[in-house]
C-alpha cells in the first residue's frame, strides 16, 4: 500500500534534521494559519498563486530562491563548522549525515537558488525591456515555476522523510547505483531534478520564444538591451542542455528501478558515459547561470556610469561566443579519467579560449566606467565587487584548465574554492545586483541603501575570508568532501574559513534587515517616477510597479538605450503633444493550471520515490487531466477597457512629466 514508506523513514535517532524539520514545519504551519486567519488566502490565490503575469511569477521565483538560499546556506555553515572541528576527531556530524549535507548543499544552491533566481529576474525584466505585455506562453510560465517549486519541496521533504543522496551534487554512478545507494536518497535527488528540470525547460522555451518573436516595434536585435541578449544565450543553452540532464537522469533511474545496465559495473554498463553525459549538461549549466549575471552587470554598470555600454556589439559577440564554446569544454571536468594527452589538450585549450570573450566583457565594463559619472549605489557595489572577485575566480579556472595542473588539483579544496569563487562572485553577486537594481521596479519603492551597503561589505569580505583559505588548503593537498582529517597543516585554514562563514552570515542578516527596514519605510522610499536610477532601457519607461499590461502602448524603439533616447528628446523638445488614443488591451486570464499540475507532480514524485505505484497513477492521470481541462477553456483572455488603461496611464504620465520638466529646468 505504501511501498517502501514506513516509520523507519523518519530519522528519530538524528536530532539535527528532526529539530530543523520540526522548526520549518511549525514555521510553515504558522504562516499558513496567519494567512488563513487574516483572510489573505483569496488574495494570495487570485493575485499570486494562479497569476500568469510574468512579473508576479518572476517575484515568486526569486522568493523561492531566497528561501532556499537560507536552507543551502545553513548546510554550508554546518559543513564549515564540521571541517573546523573535525581535526583528529569525528566532529559533530556523523559521516552519512555529512555526506547528505554536502550533496544537498550543492543540489539546492545550483538548482533551487541560482536557477530560480536568474530565471526569476529574466521573467521579471525581459518582457519589460523588450517593451511587450507578457512572455510568449504565460500559463506555461506558471507551470514552469510551480514545477520548480515541486522539486524544491521534494528535496526538503527528504530532510524528515527518508534521506537525501550521499553522492555529491551530480550523483556519479556506480556510487549512485542501486548496489551502493540502496536507499531513497538518490531517488529523491533524481525525481526532484527531473520534475524541476521540466519546469526549467519550459521556462527556457518561453524566454527564447519571447526574445526572438515578441520584441516591440523597432526593437531590432542590435537594439536589445544586453540583459535580453544574455537571457537569449542562457535560454538557448537551457533548451539544448537540459534535455541531456533529463535523458541522463532517466537512464540512472532505469538502472535503479528496472535493473537496466547503463551505468552499472555489470553486464557491460559504462560509468564513464555518465560522466560525459552529465557534464555535457553540467558545463553549459555554469554558463546558463553566469550569462544572465553578465547581462545584469552590463545594465548596472552602464546605468550607474551614466554612459552607454562600451563596445555593445563586441559584448553581443562575446555573449554568443561563450554560448557556443561552453558546449565544447565538458571534458575538462575529468581530465584524470585517462582520455590521453591529445583529448585533454584539446579540451584544455577550448576551456581557456572561453577566457577571451569573458575578458572582452570585463574590459568593456571597465571602459564603460572610464570617464563616466559613476554613482556607487548598492547595485554598482555588487558589480564592482564582482569584477574583482570574478577575475580571481576566472584566473584560477584557467589554471585548472591546464591538464597537468588539474592532475594535481582535481577534486581538491582548490577546485571547491575556484567554483565558489565564480559562482558566488559571478552568479550570486549578479543576482544581488539585479535584486537591488530591479526591486523598485517590482514593488514601487527602493531598498534601504545603508543596510544594502552593509550587506555588500560583509558578504564581500566574508567571501574572501571563507574561500581564499580553501585555495591554500587545496594547495596543501586537502581533498574535497572530507568528513574529518588528520593533517595539522590544514586545520588553521579551516578555522579561518569558518570565521569567514560567520562574516558571510552577517551579510545575509544585513540583507534580511534591509528588506525589513525598507518595507517599514516604504512610504519614504517610494519611487513615483518609475525611473529611480535614471535608467536607460524600456523597463524604466513604465510605472513602478508596472500595470498588469506593462505598457499602455507598445513602445516604438528608435535606437540603442531606448528609454535614454526618449528622455533626451523629451528634454530637448516640448512635452506638449496630442493625447494618445487609448485602446482596449487583451491580457491572459489567471489560471490554476500551474499550481494544480505541480500538486499532482508532487504526489507523483513522492510516490515514485517510495515505490507507491497506485499513487503514481493518480498523480499522472491528474496531471494529464489538468492539461485537458486547461485545453478546454473557452475564454483564456480578458479585456481591460480603454478607459481603464487611460486612467492608469495618465497617473504614470503626470508623474513622469513633472520629473522631466524638473530635470529640464536644471
Amino acid at each position: 500500500m505504501l511501498g517502501k514508506l514506513d516509520w523507519s523513514a523518519i530519522p528519530f535517532d538524528q536530532p539535527i534534521p528532526l529539530v530543523a524539520g520540526g522548526i520549518v514545519l511549525v514555521a510553515i504551519l504558522g504562516v499558513l494559519a496567519w494567512v488563513v486567519v487574516k483572510g489573505h488566502l483569496p488574495y494570495l490565490w487570485h493575485e499570486w498563486i494562479t497569476s500568469v503575469d510574468h512579473k508576479r511569477i518572476g517575484v515568486m521565483y526569486i522568493l523561492l530562491a531566497s528561501v532556499m538560499l537560507l536552507r543551502g546556506g545553513s548546510d554550508a555553515i554546518m559543513m564549515r563548522i564540521q571541517q573546523a572541528v573535525a581535526y583528529q576527531s569525528q566532529g559533530y556530524l556523523p559521516p552519512e549525515h555529512y555526506n547528505q549535507i554536502f550533496s544537498a548543499h550543492g543540489t539546492i544552491m545550483i538548482f533551487f537558488v541560482a536557477m530560480p533566481f536568474v530565471i526569476g529576474l529574466m521573467n521579471l525584466v525581459v518582457p519589460l525591456q523588450l517593451g511587450v505585455r507578457d512572455v510568449a506562453f504565460p500559463t506555461l510560465n506558471s507551470v514552469g515555476f510551480w514545477l520548480t517549486a515541486t522539486g524544491a519541496l521534494l528535496v526538503n521533504l527528504s530532510l524528515v522523510i527518508g534521506e537525501f543522496a550521499r553522492t555529491g551534487w551530480l550523483a556519479f554512478p556506480p556510487l549512485s547505483g542501486l548496489s551502493y545507494s540502496p536507499g531513497v536518497g538518490v531517488d529523491y535527488y533524481a525525481w526532484s531534478l527531473q520534475i524541476s528540470g521540466v519546469g526549467t525547460l519550459v521556462a527556457g522555451i518561453n524566454l527564447v520564444t519571447t526574445v526572438l518573436k515578441l520584441r516591440t516595434k523597432g526593437m531590432n536585435y542590435l537594439r536589445m538591451p544586453m540583459f535580453c541578449w544574455t537571457t537569449l544565450a542562457s535560454n538557448l543553452l537551457i533548451v539544448s542542455a537540459f534535455p541531456i540532464l533529463t535523458a541522463t537522469l532517466a537512464m540512472l533511474l532505469l538502472d535503479r528501478y528496472l535493473g537496466f545496465h547503463f551505468f552499472t559495473n555489470e553486464a557491460g554498463g559504462n560509468v564513464m558515459m555518465f560522466m560525459n553525459l552529465i557534464w555535457a549538461w553540467g558545463h553549459p549549466e555554469v554558463y546558463i547561470l553566469v550569462l544572465p549575471a553578465f547581462g545584469i552587470f552590463s545594465e548596472v554598470v552602464s546605468t550607474f556610469s551614466g554612459k552607454a555600454l562600451f563596445g555593445y556589439r563586441s559584448m553581443v559577440l562575446a555573449t554568443m561566443a561563450i554560448c557556443v564554446i561552453s558546449f565544447m569544454v565538458w571534458l575538462h571536468h575529468f581530465f584524470t579519467m585517462g582520455a590521453g594527452p591529445d583529448v585533454n589538450a584539446i579540451f584544455g585549450i577550448a576551456s581557456m579560449i572561453i577566457a577571451i570573450p569573458t575578458g572582452v566583457k570585463i574590459y568593456n565594463w571597465l571602459f564603460t566606467m572610464y570617464g563616466g559619472r559613476i554613482r556607487f549605489a548598492t547595485p554598482m557595489l555588487w558589480a564592482v565587487g564582482f569584477m574583482v572577485t570574478f577575475i580571481i575566480g576566472g584566473l584560477t579556472g584557467v589554471l585548472v584548465a591546464v591538464p597537468p595542473a588539474d592532475f594535481m588539483l582535481h577534486n581538491s579544496m582548490f577546485l571547491v574554492a575556484h567554483f565558489h569563487n565564480v559562482i558566488i562572485g559571478g552568479v550570486l553577486f549578479g543576482a544581488f545586483a539585479g535584486f537591488e537594481y530591479w526591486f523598485p521596479k517590482a514593488f514601487g519603492f527602493r531598498l534601504d541603501e545603508r543596510w544594502g551597503k552593509a550587506a555588500f561589505w560583509f558578504t564581500f569580505v566574508g567571501f574572501y575570508i571563507t574561500f581564499m583559505p580553501l585555495y591554500i588548503a587545496g594547495m596543501l593537498g586537502m581533498t574535497r568532501r572530507l568528513q574529518h582529517y588528520e593533517v595539522a597543516a590544514w586545520r588553521p585554514w579551516m578555522i579561518v574559513a569558518a570565521i569567514g562563514m560567520a562574516v558571510l552570515s552577517v551579510g545575509v542578516i544585513c540583507q534580511i534587515m534591509q528588506l525589513v527596514v525598507s518595507i517599514r519605510n516604504r512610504e519614504a522610499l517610494r519611487d513615483r517616477t518609475g525611473d529611480p536610477w535614471d535608467g536607460r532601457s524600456l523597463e524604466w519607461a513604465t510605472s513602478s510597479p508596472p500595470p498588469v499590461f506593462n505598457f499602455a502602448f507598445n513602445p516604438d524603439v528608435r535606437g540603442e538605450d531606448a528609454y535614454w533616447d526618449m528622455k533626451a528628446k523629451a528634454q530637448q523638445q516640448s512635452l506638449e503633444h496630442d493625447v494618445p488614443e487609448y485602446q482596449d488591451i487583451e491580457m491572459p486570464r489567471n489560471s490554476p493550471t500551474g499550481f494544480v499540475c505541480a500538486f499532482f507532480a508532487t504526489i507523483m514524485g513522492f510516490a515514485l520515490i517510495w515505490h507507491i505505484w497506485w499513487m503514481v497513477i493518480v498523480g499522472g492521470v491528474g496531471a494529464f487531466a489538468t492539461f485537458v481541462v486547461f485545453a478546454w477553456r473557452d475564454h483564456d483572455e480578458y479585456v481591460i477597457p480603454a478607459a481603464e488603461v487611460a486612467r492608469i496611464d495618465r497617473v504614470n504620465l503626470e508623474e513622469r512629466r513633472s520629473l522631466v520638466s524638473m530635470a529640464g529646468a536644471i
Partner: protein, 213 residues
C-alpha cells in the same frame, strides 16, 4: 508609447551600415506558438540524441547475450516503418482538411493516423514482449538496456501522440475549428512529423546497422 510621439528617426542607423530593417513588432500568435513548439521539438531531439549516443556506446556490450543481428526482425521493422511514414501522410491530409475547415476529411485523416499509430505500437509492443519472454529483457545486457530505452522512448512519444490525437479530435468535435484549436492542431502535426524523423534515425541506426553487427 506616448513619449515617442514626437521622437524623430535620428537613431535609425546608429552604425551607418546603410541598410536598416525596422523590426515590425511582436509576431502573431500562430507564429509564436509554432516557433515555441519548434524549440521544444529541438530540445526533444537533443534528448533522443543522448539515447542514440548511449546506444552507440553500448551496442557491443552484449555481456554474452544476443547481438542485434540475432534478435531484429526486418519484416516487422519494415511494416512499422511503412505504418509510421504513411501516418505522417494522413496526418498531413488531416492538417490540410483542418485548414480548409472540412470536418469529414479531418476526422478521416486523424482516424487513419490513429489506426496506423496503434498498429505501430502493437507491433513494437509484441516485439518487446517476445524479447522479454525469451529472456532478452532490458536487464540482460547494456546493449539491450540501451536498445529498449531508445526504441521504447520513441514508442512512449507515439503513445503520447495518440492520446493527443484523440484529444484533438474531441476538441474539434466540441469546439470546431477555432483559432486556438487550429494552433494546437498545427503543433500536433509538427510533433507527429518529428516522431517520423526520429524513427528514420532509429531504424537506420538500430535496425539497419544493428542487423550487420
Amino acid at each position: 508609447m506616448s513619449m515617442t510621439a514626437t521622437a524623430g528617426h535620428a537613431h535609425a542607423d546608429p552604425h551607418h551600415i546603410g541598410v536598416v530593417i525596422e523590426h515590425p513588432g511582436p509576431a502573431s500568435k500562430r507564429i509564436v506558438t509554432a516557433y515555441g513548439f519548434w524549440v521544444f521539438l529541438l530540445s526533444d531531439i537533443v534528448m533522443f540524441s543522448c539515447f542514440f549516443a548511449a546506444y552507440a556506446v553500448l551496442v557491443h556490450q552484449t555481456a554474452d547475450g544476443p547481438k542485434g543481428s540475432e534478435i531484429f526482425e526486418q519484416r516487422n521493422v519494415a511494416i512499422e516503418t511503412v505504418c509510421l511514414l504513411l501516418s505522417s501522410f494522413t496526418c498531413g491530409m488531416a492538417s490540410i482538411a483542418a485548414d480548409v475547415r472540412n470536418r469529414f476529411w479531418f476526422y478521416l485523416g486523424m482516424t487513419v493516423t490513429c489506426v496506423l499509430g496503434l498498429i505501430f505500437l502493437v507491433i513494437e509492443f509484441r516485439e518487446f514482449a517476445d524479447l522479454v519472454a525469451r529472456g532478452y529483457g532490458p536487464s540482460r545486457s547494456a546493449f539491450l538496456s540501451s536498445f529498449f530505452s531508445l526504441v521504447g522512448c520513441h514508442g512512449l512519444h507515439v503513445s503520447a501522440g495518440v492520446l493527443w490525437l484523440l484529444t484533438m479530435m474531441a476538441q474539434v468535435f466540441a469546439k470546431g475549428f477555432r483559432a486556438d484549436v487550429l494552433r494546437r492542431m498545427m503543433c500536433f502535426a509538427l510533433f507527429w512529423h518529428a516522431l517520423d524523423i526520429i524513427w528514420v534515425g532509429v531504424f537506420s541506426v538500430v535496425y539497419l546497422l544493428g542487423s550487420a553487427v
